[in-house]
């Protein structure tokens, strides 16, 4: 017997088919069966139909996070693929891409297979592995892209570390073309960024912390845009944080270079001022920048210079963050706050509307990484997020599904929250209440 779920009476927004109307969505087994105003009346007598009332809620293709760190294998006390996938589901994500900077590094087909298997067992958001560009992320020899892709990797990246060698990056861009995968780029000129703990500027000067100048990111961004032009490879620039980077991406896109880019929720919401008082939960790489950078990134999300919003979810043990600022590790958790931060800082102020938010969180990431989600077309996998765009809530890290508690938003009142998350037609997250 087939399973069926009816999402009834929500505002269905699916930018992939330019849809924005109040409608019902019928899911049969693992796929979208029908969308329309009268679906409910036609199906109400189906056996075993589960009806979820979506009145006043948004029904959208499931969110896709192309950039998160799930820490398994190696740091299971910090996060596991299972806790990460559940945190993702709680944040409205139906798919996440796990970066390869684990221990050991995901740089071979067996490691990729392990992540796929753990993701399957987790049975929450789908987990797609990203393979390393170089063996051990050491920046020397290419990893086996072909075998990793065959095992299920969807992109390659040395994220967490820059690819210092321009030659290696060039080769990776060329070699990745065979497999049609993006090269996800952690842009950081290592000699400029070396030892830096926050944005270089007046705040770092005052606090006596070594700064990371904007140019550390921008130099690598333009280097790799130029290498993409040379090679025809697809460069995907991760976690862009500066106005200059936005201008360089725009320059590349205007010339038809195969460049896509992502921004993180924290970089469109917070500035370097959050580091005041040496708050290690405001420490990440790239660092929080200036109000001018935030404004430029927000506009870039609006005008499409930035394609994708991705979390860079980076859990750390509280002991690791409870220390001197310069010694604390980089990164914050993001899966369970991303939607609300984006609504609070982009949608509520009117910078973008909900359809564009869904484009940046679901459709575009699926397209850029060639994943199956990002649409509610008939026959598509039923990966669906149902969220309340109006509700406000106070961030309490102790309630996260993630093992990570490291967030600069603790105690903030944010707007918008996932209510139901469906992956392949199954409800993997249901908000309590």
């Amino acid at each position: 017997m087939s399973r069926s779920i009816l999402l009834r009476g929500g505002r269905v927004i699916d930018p992939s088919q330019s849809l924005d109307e109040t409608a019902d969505v019928l899911i049969v087994d693992d796929t979208v069966e029908a969308i329309g105003a009268r679906v409910a009346s036609e199906t109400s007598n189906r056996d075993g139909l589960e009806i979820i009332d979506c009145t006043g809620l948004i029904v959208s293709p499931g969110f896709v996070d192309v950039h998160c760190h799930l820490r398994e294998p190696g740091r299971e006390e910090v996060e596991t693929i299972a806790t990460g996938a559940r945190a993702a589901a709680a944040g409205g994500f139906t798919s996440v891409c796990a970066m390869p900077n684990t221990d050991p590094v995901t740089d071979n087909q067996a490691a990729v297979g392990f992540i796929i298997r753990q993701g399957t067992i987790a049975n929450a958001a789908r987990v797609y592995p990203v393979g390393a560009i170089s063996l051990g992320q050491r920046g020397e020899a290419l990893a086996e892209f072909g075998e990793m892709v065959a095992a299920g990797a969807v992109a390659v990246s040395d994220d967490g570390r820059p690819v210092a060698s321009a030659h290696l990056m060039r080769t990776a861009l060329e070699y990745a073309r065979t497999f049609g995968i993006p090269v996800a780029d952690h842009c950081e000129e290592p000699t400029l960024a070396n030892g830096g703990a926050m944005n270089e500027g007046i705040v770092s000067a005052r606090l006596g912390l070594k700064g990371i100048p904007a140019e550390a990111e921008e130099i690598m961004a333009i280097r790799d845009i130029l290498l993409a032009r040379r090679t025809g490879g697809h460069i995907h620039l991760c976690h862009m944080s500066t106005r200059g980077s936005v201008e360089l991406i725009r320059w590349g896109k205007d010339r038809g270079i195969n460049v896509t880019a992502e921004v993180c929720p924290h970089h469109i919401s917070l500035t370097e001022d959050a580091v005041e008082d040496y708050d290690t939960n405001a420490k990440m790489n790239p660092p929080l920048r200036t109000a001018d950078d935030v404004a430029a990134l927000q506009q870039a999300v609006r005008d499409g210079t930035i394609d994708v919003i991705a979390t860079d979810h980076a859990p750390h043990h509280y002991d690791e963050k409870e220390r001197e600022f310069a010694d604390a590790p980089n990164g914050i958790v993001g899966l369970e706050t991303a939607l609300a931060v984006n609504i609070t800082w982009l949608v509520a102020p009117g910078i973008i509307d909900l359809p564009l938010l869904i484009e940046r969180m679901s459709c575009a990431p699926s397209r850029v990484y060639k994943l199956s989600g990002g649409t509610l077309r008939r026959g598509a996998p039923a990966d669906v997020t149902v969220f309340d765009p109006e509700t406000t809530w106070v961030v309490e890290p102790s309630r996260f599904k993630s093992k990570g508690r490291n967030t600069p938003y603790a105690g903030h009142t944010l707007q918008g929250r996932a209510r139901f998350t469906l992956v392949g037609g199954r409800v993997v997250y249901r908000a309590d209440e």
């Binding site: 270089e200 007046i202 700064g211 040496y278």
Partner: protein, 321 residues
């Protein structure tokens, strides 16, 4: 109303001009104690103070210890060597252990910017920052201010130029905040590779050439050149640094005015400062050291709850705070 200092002294950036003036004024009566044959008053009798030094220090540690002992506090020196990362115990555990021993005050010197605040946020005891990374060294800033005030009779309107490695100097930051809050004009001078990029946003004049700084200033506060800056590639050599930025008699003579010379120590003679300047008639380098004890006594007294108006009687031997 007389301002209070609050629980901790972490930096001069967050103090008001009134609070800074309070410390300097309170230091005045304490100067005299160190001139007595019996250099001890009972003001902090029964108070326990830990001097927690994660970085090597002679001058500052000894100065604090004298200040504490001359106020009759019980003191313990802890020299924790090694960097915070390589050492086994974390700073938060160190803090908790100190708290558990019910101490009254901690004087902390640490290599990481923000370490003093980190400690202060986690323990009830008063915390005094004796230098945190490249952030602040407030008691050094205060003793520099006191020394300048002794000589000029005021701080308002005097021109002080800080010369050298401002980027890596906690002394520079504390001086910039302290002096600007007290109405002085502050300049900085050094190789641009050793000045923070955003330095002009801190309300200071920037001089590229030391000759221009000397032309402008009433006083120079000359910073120690850390030799590891050469290997880190910020400047080419000590020799060239001395030629371009070193304070020599000859350079000072060209100004045709008396310029007061300060240096927080320890000095590299022949590098940032020539010996005939350091030992010359306008050098107040040893007065700085003397004032350091008085300023630290004032800070200890005020943080322990001592009333500024009673400082005069406190030094006469009254137990009152």
């Amino acid at each position: 109303m007389i301002p209070s200092l609050g629980k901790d002294l972490l930096g001069l950036e967050r103090l008001s001009g009134d609070q800074i003036k309070l410390i300097l004024d309170t230091a005045e009566p304490f100067k005299e104690i160190s001139e007595r044959a019996i250099k001890k008053v009972p003001t902090l009798r029964g108070a326990t103070i830990v001097n927690l030094f994660f970085e090597a220090s002679t001058r500052t540690r000894v100065s604090f210890e004298f200040a504490e002992k001359r106020l009759s506090a019980d003191t313990v020196n802890v020299a924790a060597s090694g960097s915070s990362v390589s050492k086994g115990e974390t700073l938060v555990d160190t803090a908790r252990n100190l708290e558990a021993m019910r101490i009254d005050m901690v004087v902390i010197r640490h290599g990481a910017s923000g370490a003093a605040q980190f400690l202060a946020d986690r323990i009830e005891s008063n915390v005094i920052n004796a230098g945190d990374g490249t952030h602040e060294h407030p008691t050094q800033g205060l003793l520099d201010l006191l020394t300048l005030r002794d000589h000029f009779g005021r701080l308002d309107g005097i021109k002080v130029c800080i010369v050298g490695d401002v980027m890596h100097s906690r002394v520079a930051r504390s001086n910039i905040w302290g002096l600007t809050k007290m109405g002085a004009d502050v300049g900085v001078c050094g190789p641009r590779s050793l000045l923070p990029n955003a330095i002009d946003e801190m309300g200071v004049k920037v001089f590229n050439r030391v000759e221009e700084a000397i032309e402008w200033a009433d006083a120079l506060n000359i910073l120690r050149l850390q030799f590891e800056r050469m290997t880190a590639g910020y400047i080419p050599s000590q020799r060239e640094y001395n030629r371009v930025f070193g304070i020599s008699r000859e350079r000072l003579d060209r100004a045709k005015r008396d310029i007061l010379i300060l240096h927080p120590g320890p000095m590299n003679r022949g590098v940032e400062i020539d010996s005939d300047v350091a030992d010359g008639p306008f050098s107040v380098i040893l007065e700085q050291v003397t004032n350091g004890v008085a300023v630290r006594m004032a800070v200890l007294y005020l943080l322990s709850g001592g009333k500024p108006e009673l400082a005069e009687s406190a030094k006469r031997g009254g137990g009152e705070r």
